[in-house]
């Protein structure tokens, strides 16, 4: 079976009127036989058969036919003429032609996507996405690739003049502790905060004082792999146990810690300070004092000469030691505490605010002084009772 379509008879007519067929269904026609009369906008034209065979028309007289639509069929046997034509076959041929044209150029990305990828030096083929890659897909991919690379690949100064460049510090914990640590880092020229990690996913991507929260704390290993920081510091101090645990875990993983020390801190001769300590403004360390790791000193803490402080301790503002005091590990100090000379304080103890220590404190002790009490109410019109 061969299908023939309406030919383009004149230049200006895409549609014609079929006036009549000059052959009947089942007739044998030869190529060149006149089989139809059609009327265009200007004249009546005769249509010749383009092949030989048994004729079956597909359009009706009086119908407006379009150029390219199915017009008539020529079959090899007279018997087939009676059979109903499967329209499916006709449509299949039409679609097959159309599909083969379309399959030439499967478009996988838009022009704008291609241009954007080129601009950023990215191979458009590696951009993930469903369906046709669009500009937004490329944008997202660029963002993901550059996220985490906050500063240092592409630093025009640090990468070239790397001797004695500022230490890149990653801050663990994005709360108020981070604000304190950032404040100090802004004041120390040899250290620079490059990012913050926090397990609260709502902070991810946001900035704290211009420094981005890059992800949760476990992301630190990837950042280390990518060499995006030099050292770490833990900024939170409310929970000594978790502070200690995090420090120990990361040390085992090979993470290096730094000390964050305010410029106003006074450190006397022969003082030894470990790693991972945060020391806020106006603290003082007397000669020959020895300080361990991962301690948090609030402002105005005085560690006198020949003191020994362990690791993972936290000090509120204004803790005043005297000489030769020994403080163990994981000791928590409130604010406004005074310690007489030579006192030893055991591990895991908690010293409440306002305490004056005059004797040794064993391990795991909770030391409290007299608690404040309200002795009288102040009247509204200021008269005392």
């Amino acid at each position: 079976m061969r299908i023939f379509r309406v030919p383009q008879v004149t230049n200006q007519d895409d549609e014609m009127l079929l006036i009549r067929w000059l052959k009947s269904e089942g007739d044998f026609v030869n190529v060149g036989d006149i089989i139809a009369e059609v009327e265009t906008s200007k004249a009546v034209f005769e249509i010749e058969s383009e092949g030989s065979g048994f004729f079956k028309p597909l359009a009706n007289p009086g119908e407006h036919i379009k150029v390219g639509q199915t017009f008539y069929i020529l079959l090899n046997n007279r018997e087939e003429v009676q059979k109903p034509i499967e329209l499916r076959d006709i449509e299949f041929e039409k679609n097959a032609k159309q599909n083969s044209e379309i399959e030439n150029q499967p478009k996988r990305w838009t022009k704008k996507a291609e241009l954007l990828a080129k601009k950023y030096g990215i191979d458009i083929e590696e951009v993930p996405g469903t369906g046709i890659i669009q500009e937004a897909d490329v944008e997202r991919y660029i963002r993901i690739k550059s996220e985490g690379k906050t500063s240092q690949f592409n630093d025009l100064v640090d990468d070239i003049y790397s001797d004695n460049r500022a230490e890149r510090v990653i801050i663990l914990g994005g709360g108020r502790g981070a604000v304190q640590v950032l404040d100090v880092l802004f004041r120390t020229p040899k250290q620079r905060a490059v990012g913050i990690l926090d397990d609260n996913s709502e902070l991810y991507g946001k900035n704290i004082m211009g420094v981005k929260v890059l992800g949760n704390i476990s992301a630190i290993e990837k950042l280390k792999e990518d060499n995006l920081f030099d050292t770490a510091i833990i900024s939170f101090s409310n929970d000594i146990e978790s502070r200690a645990k995090l420090f120990e875990t990361l040390i085992k993983k090979g993470i290096k810690f730094t000390n964050v020390i305010d410029p106003t801190v006074v450190i006397h001769s022969n003082v030894s300070i470990g790693k991972g300590n945060v020391i806020m403004a106006h603290c003082r360390f007397g000669s020959c004092a020895i300080v361990g790791d991962n301690n948090f000193f609030s402002a105005y803490v005085n560690i006198e000469h020949h003191n020994v402080v362990g690791s993972h301790c936290t000090f509120g503002p204004g803790v005043m030691t005297s000489s030769r005091v020994t403080i163990g590990n994981k000791v928590k100090f409130g604010t406004g505490i005074f310690i007489e000379p030579g006192i030893k304080i055991g591990d895991n103890s908690v010293i409440a605010s306002g305490t004056i220590l005059i004797r040794d404190i064993p391990e795991n002790s909770l030391v409290k002084t007299k608690v404040e009490t309200i002795i009288r109410r102040k009247d509204i019109d200021n008269k005392s009772q």
């Binding site: 230049n11 200006q12 478009k107 838009t110 022009k111 704008k112 996507a113 669009q134 500009e135």
Partner: protein, 341 residues
């Protein structure tokens, strides 16, 4: 208006004008029923208005001359020139008579004639039946030239020219536009906006292939008339490539004022593409570029490209004609190149 074609819109407008105003008459070759005109624009009218339509001998100068005389004597004649290529035969009447009399007689006489004619190629009609000659009538003081598109409402433009415009109007209808359905309200892809301008008597249409306000367009296109036939395909393909365009389609092409919206658009995009079908240059696009230079020189960075046919007569052979005249492939290729720079 759904499904109304350009030719139908014009036909209905002529009917409305004949109904509304007794002074309207229509003059042209072969415009009477049953033939109804070479492009069927006047079909059905002589049947209902037998004393208002006049068929003429083949003399364009006489046809237009009679129309001018009738206009000066108080009628509102609509004169059809069968192919725009023949308008050269009426050039003296149009340029030295119709355009000049109101000025020469100091406003004591008006020539409210509308001269309608199809222009443009794409039908393999040959070099003398396919031209876009409207450009030689631009820049004639006293003559207004209006070109329709299917994004305008051609019937409204024609009605305005006949009933409201006191000036002589050369009304250009690109022949490929006649069978197209009107798209004055746009479609899924194209957003259509009519710009209000007190400096233009006939409206400018602004097309966008994006609907959001936050998208920054990549390119501004300035064109008119028959080129709008290609814009359906072009704007759709550009949208698929995420290339966002503003297309300005003036209808009053004799008006040299640039709409402020056009200035805004080229400031944002920095790229302007002009498309014109008439060959040989010295045309409408040249004047637009001159006006842009006057307005914006050294004020913005603007990359200007122009699509126009090469200096040649239009071939009769269909594929050669297609190669020569602006088409959607050429437009898309040019835009892709400009965007990639």
């Amino acid at each position: 208006m759904k499904g109304e074609t350009v030719v139908k819109s014009l036909n209905l407008a002529l009917r409305r004008c004949l109904e509304k105003d007794k002074r309207v008459i229509i003059i042209g070759e072969d415009i009477l029923d049953p033939y109804g005109g070479a492009f069927k624009v006047t079909q059905g009218l002589s049947t209902n208005f037998p004393d208002r339509l006049f068929t003429t001998p083949i003399s364009e100068a006489s046809i237009v001359g009679i129309g001018i005389g009738a206009a000066m004597r108080g009628l509102l004649p609509v004169v059809e020139i069968m192919f725009g290529d023949f308008i050269t035969l009426a050039a003296d009447q149009i340029i030295n008579h119709a355009a000049k009399f109101p000025g020469m007689y100091n406003g004591k006489v008006f020539v409210p004639i509308v001269i309608r004619t199809p222009m443009g190629g794409g039908r393999a009609y040959g070099p003398t039946h396919s031209q876009s000659l409207e450009k030689i009538f631009l820049g004639i003081p006293g003559l207004r030239v209006v070109a329709i598109s299917h994004f305008h409402n051609p019937g409204e433009l024609l009605e305005k020219a006949i009933l409201q415009d006191k000036m002589p109007v050369l009304f250009i209808e690109h022949k490929l536009l006649y069978p197209l359905e009107l798209k004055c309200y746009g479609d899924d892809t194209i957003k259509v906006e009519q710009l209000e301008s007190h400096k233009h008597f006939y409206p400018i249409v602004l097309l966008k292939n994006y609907h959001s306000d936050v998208i920054k367009p990549d390119l501004t296109i300035l064109t008119y008339g028959g080129i709008s036939k290609h814009l359906d395909e072009v704007l759709k393909q550009l949208k698929d490539e995420e290339i966002w365009v503003d297309v300005f389609l003036p209808s009053e092409i004799s008006n040299r004022e640039l709409p402020p919206e056009l200035i805004e658009s080229v400031k944002r995009t920095g790229r302007l593409l002009l498309i014109e079908e008439s060959a040989g240059g010295f045309g409408w696009a040249s004047e637009m570029v001159k006006k842009l230079a006057e307005n914006l020189w050294s004020k913005i960075m603007l990359e200007i490209s122009i699509i126009e046919p090469p200096d040649s007569i239009i071939p009769s052979e269909k594929t050669m004609e297609y190669e020569m005249l602006p088409n959607s492939d050429k437009i898309i290729n040019q835009i892709m190149e400009v965007i990639s720079r």
